[in-house]
């Protein structure tokens, strides 16, 4: 690929598109992925439902077509799995995903039991915070680890330790997932319960805003998941993360032009665009949503450290 030629002496960096966490309609998803396949600079695309198994069936029919189109465009494809598994049906779903033969991103430990030593990716919902847990999952054939969003820079540098694990991925753009639950807060907000939810989460393609009583935008509700209000933006930090041994950089889909977002990040990784300029360009795409980076600096996650040091 031409983009790797320009940085031949630097460690290779890969841009990944995380799974769509929101409940987008089937047509919207399909068109989104077709455009990602045809126009984007992503190297790897994660598909699959992470948040709620009730949403899964809407995606099923389009999946083979999407996988083919992404592969034909030279993207690698990974199937992400549910972050919280409680029912027999959800366990069957994991089994089905594993049997389908795509590379799996395991987000609940249940997946590791099914994978039984097959190569896989550890997703950000499985806590790998240190070398001991890293070494254990690598020994069980995890080929890539997506680190938990809470991890700070010092922790990342220890766990990413170049050479010890082939691939380390960090989320560098989008609303940060902060918790998963059994209960559906989206349904609660709309006055219905989870069993008869009428898929109200589909009303909010970028999540439902939750403010404090004094009107501060603070959280985003996405079904059973709770996310940050702000977008994590690690652009000034890309070079540092790369030098720590991070190889894959995840952009989490938001309801904005992700093709353009990816292009901005790619240019920074290729040293064709300065960080300040990149953030300014990104700002034009993200409206008034605040940016956050606190977790990386061992601060409150919602903080924005402008100094980037």
């Amino acid at each position: 690929m031409s983009k790797t030629k320009s940085n031949i002496k630097r460690p290779l960096s890969y841009l990944t598109l995380g799974p769509i966490l929101f409940n987008w309609e089937a047509d919207k998803r399909r068109d989104f992925y077709f455009r990602i396949a045809d126009e984007s600079v992503f190297d790897c695309v994660y598909l699959g439902e992470v948040v709620c198994s009730k949403r899964e069936p809407f995606f099923e029919n389009d999946l083979p077509g999407i996988v083919d189109r992404l592969r034909a465009a030279g993207k690698s494809v990974v199937m992400s799995t549910l972050a919280l598994v409680t029912s027999e049906q959800e366990m069957d779903l994991i089994q089905k995903n594993v049997e389908a033969g795509l590379m799996i991103e395991a987000n609940d430990v249940a997946c590791l039991q099914v994978l039984a030593g097959m190569p896989h990716i550890i997703g950000p919902y499985i806590n790998i915070f240190n070398k001991s847990s890293r070494d254990f999952v690598v020994h069980q054939n995890a080929t890539r680890i997506v680190l938990p969003v809470e991890m700070n820079a010092q922790g990342i540098s220890v766990v990413a330790e170049r050479g010890k694990v082939s691939e380390i991925e960090v989320m560098v753009f989008g609303r940060q997932p902060l918790s998963v639950a059994m209960r559906c807060y989206h349904a609660r907000s709309y006055g219905v319960n989870k069993d008869s939810c009428q898929y109200v989460c589909g009303f909010d393609p970028n999540g439902l805003a939750a403010e404090t009583l004094d009107g501060q935008s603070i959280l985003t509700v996405n079904g059973t998941q709770t996310m940050s209000h702000g977008y994590v933006v690690l652009i000034h930090e890309l070079e540092r993360l790369l030098s720590m041994g991070v190889s894959h950089f995840r952009l989490s889909p938001q309801n904005i032009d992700m093709v353009e977002v990816a292009y901005i990040y790619r240019q920074v990784l290729d040293k064709k665009l300065g960080s300040d300029e990149a953030v300014a360009k990104l700002r034009c795409l993200t409206n008034s949503i605040p940016y956050i980076n606190g977790f990386l600096y061992a601060r409150e996650g919602l903080a924005w450290n402008e100094n980037h040091t």
Binding site: A83, L84, V85, T86, S87, M91, I94, D108, V109, A110, C111, L112, Q113, V114, N127, I128, F129, N130, K131, S132, S133, F136, V137, V149, E150, M151, Q154, G155, V158, V159, Q176, L178, S179, V180, A181, M182, R183, Y185, S189, N193, D195, L208, A209, A210, E211, T212, L213, D214, Q216, I218, L219, V221, T226, G294, F295, A298, R299, E300, G301, L302
Partner: protein
């Protein structure tokens, strides 16, 4: 694995609480060391090595057990405190350790194969496949089930796994999948997962605004309530937020879990042990909750109708009680 006797597992944040729990009828007490290795790392709580040895001696003298919770996730920078805690638990003669992190589980399995291992609720093992993974790799003997499961779910898991299960019986309701909630660190920078404290007291403030009290965590307003209105300690999941223009307890009401009225159902589901939450609560709380549950479990063991007056409401969070996820429709 089903058992005819429900074991009563009780919290102890101090040696005095450990004595109180055993005197009130606990079968087992759980506690932690005074550092970030346990999920109730609050000032003035937990045990040093001398107290731990003394506590275990007291329990064993009364034919009771002590479990040591080492159930946070080691920070990459320094895993040593967690390994040291496991070594100390073994040296102190603990009956089991309660662990969550894959690395710590592996360490304990390698270095102390004969020290019984329980899987902490912080590992968020909410299905039989996950539990089997921990059982296969780390030979866990018991799993503490997350507070997100219904009685039907629990019954299915019990049948599938063939090891002991422990479920929450009384105390705080955690609506999020435990061990994977970053809301408190999002607001304060201190992590329940690695620092062992959700909404640490040092970050909590109360302000008087007219007739209302406003509770804040870090710089974030979590609630505002009138004098006689029930309110919970300001953890992010017990706050009021505005969605769709309306304020509500978005995640969970100020309410405490109490299963005393469904003990026969839990027994029928095949659970091994009942856990009382609250290592951060007082010795009086421990005495009252443990003795009430002891009487109820004794009635249950005799096959008699449970006649214990349920007078625990006043010490439940927010002064109200719920069956949480055990109840149909909670989701």
């Amino acid at each position: 694995m089903t058992s005819s006797y429900l074991e009563l597992v009780c919290p102890a944040g101090t040696l005095a609480s450990l004595h109180a729990a055993i005197d009130a009828g606990a079968d087992t007490v759980y506690c932690g060391f005074q550092d970030c290795t346990n999920a109730r790392n609050y000032p003035g709580l937990n045990f040093d090595m001398e107290e731990m040895v003394e506590g275990i001696q007291y329990a064993h003298d009364h034919g009771k057990k002590v479990l040591i919770a080492i159930n946070t996730f080691p920070r990459a920078e320094d895993e040593k405190p967690w390994h040291t805690a496991v070594d100390k638990a073994a040296a102190a003669g603990a009956d089991a350790v309660i662990l969550a992190d894959i690395g710590v589980l592996n360490y304990a399995t390698q270095h102390h194969p004969n020290l019984r291992r329980h899987l902490s609720v912080q590992a968020s093992a909410s299905n039989s496949l996950s539990i089997q993974f921990y059982q296969k790799n780390f030979d866990i003997k018991r799993v503490v089930l997350p507070r997100v499961l219904s009685i039907t779910d629990i019954s299915t898991i019990v049948k599938d796994i063939g090891i002991e299960t422990e479920v929450f019986a009384f105390g705080s309701v955690g609506p999020m999948s435990e061990g994977r909630c970053f809301l408190s660190s999002y607001m304060t920078g201190l992590s329940p997962t690695s620092d062992g404290a959700c909404a640490p007291a040092s970050q909590v403030t109360y302000k008087q605004v007219g007739n209302c009290t406003k509770s804040c965590l870090g710089n974030i307003t979590l609630n505002q309530f009138y004098k006689n209105e029930p309110a919970a300690y300001p953890t992010p999941c017990k706050g009021r937020y505005i969605t769709n223009g309306q304020s509500s307890y978005l995640f969970e009401e100020p309410i405490g879990l109490n299963v005393i009225n469904i003990l026969p159902l839990l027994k029928a589901a095949g659970v091994t042990a009942l856990k009382i939450e609250g290592r951060q609560r007082s010795r009086a709380y421990v005495s009252q909750v443990v003795s009430t549950f002891r009487r109820a479990l004794d009635d249950l063991a005799k096959g008699a109708k449970i006649t214990v007056a349920n007078d625990l409401k006043s010490i439940a969070e927010g002064g109200r009680e719920t069956l949480g996820a055990y109840k149909k429709g909670w989701k």
